[in-house]
């Protein structure tokens, strides 16, 4: 019985890793699509989000079955409940990648990000890709040192998000309303991406150490 349960828990872990890897690909491709105005890549990200959503549903069904059939307690129970929550965070990260891709597609053949902010968004993209990659690795190897680097990159994403507001509101902004709207939403998507990754990282940390990290201050 315990063997079966361990195998099922291991499978759950592998599913989370696979889902995270797919989200990592989505955010990577969405950022490239955004920065290079690549509409084909944007379309691919948008289409693939349905697959990420399906992974979430499968994973959740598996968790519910596991709860029903194995009736886990203590740490095992926390692992299953955490998996339910982490899959929800990963699904939202997939949605955010899709939103970035939708903005890229909507402005094609133009670039959605104005020249003056392309450096800022290139940095956001790099930070988001690092966050996504480390989230996958953290789920894979439970090396909680990665959690703190995810938190650092989340802080960086917050700063870069602030930079976009400074650019928009500093008085020197010459963008049209469409550019203002796009920068506002894109900045928020990247910032939220970091928040969700931190949420996953804290859950893994909690499972490994048994200690709740300070609650994430949810930002706008």
């Amino acid at each position: 019985m315990r063997d079966i349960f361990d195998a099922e828990l291991a499978q759950l872990g592998e599913d989370l890793v696979a889902m995270s890897a797919r989200v990592e690909r989505a955010i990577t491709q969405a950022g490239i699509a955004l920065l290079s105005a690549d509409v084909t890549l944007a379309e691919a990200v948008i289409a693939d989000d349905l697959g990420i959503d399906a992974m979430e549903r499968d994973l959740d069904e598996r968790c519910v079955l596991l709860l029903a059939q194995q009736q886990p307690v203590a740490t095992d129970l926390r692992i299953v409940v955490s998996a339910l929550r982490m899959s929800a965070s990963l699904e939202r990260m997939g949605d955010l990648a899709r939103h970035v891709a939708q903005v890229a597609r909507g402005r094609y053949p133009r670039h959605a990000v104005p020249q003056s902010l392309s450096g800022t968004f290139a940095e956001m993209h790099d930070a988001a890709v690092r966050v996504a990659r480390r989230t996958t690795t953290l789920l894979e190897n439970r090396d909680i040192a990665l959690a703190s680097s995810i938190e650092s990159d989340d802080d960086l994403l917050d700063e870069l998000h602030e930079d976009t507001f400074t650019a928009l509101l500093g008085g020197a902004w010459v963008g049209n309303p469409q550019e203002t709207v796009d920068v506002t939403l894109l900045g928020r998507y990247y910032e939220r991406f970091g928040d969700h990754a931190v949420s996953v990282a804290r859950r893994v940390t909690y499972l490994v150490t048994g200690a709740h990290a300070a609650e994430t201050p949810t930002t706008a």
Copy 2:
């Protein structure tokens, strides 16, 4: 044993109703604060969000304890897992109310919403308040007829969100970048509020009817 379990499930239901009622108050007050530039009310909403977050944590801990101690299966298990998910949606709705209040506070003593869009945001506020009230009532009485009116108001929120883009991008917009940013974010907060309420409504419907409603198409 069953009696205790039924009492605990009933308590869980009551906790969700209480949490939803508090979110309903938050969205109501946040909208009033926004539309009337009432900074005191905005501060109250922002402060109260910590209480909503605490309710989510308590509710989740109770769910995990219930899973551990009662080992529910079948419908009972679905109820507990749904409660975990609904509390997460309600918590996000509370966050969104706080975000609206933060925008109101940030622009005080000015109005965050420009005159030309005050009618649109008054309609969004009304729809959001109806959605919040019906979500509370639905959790209370499980009258799934309410779910369809929540879906209708969510559609209305989507349309009003589109109206804000039309206003911003139609060529006649004369707002400054701060106003463009505020309208962009506020529109999104209200639109997301509807999405989360629909998610709660579909979970209740599923528990009552046993049939999954079509998946929510997640919008930007």
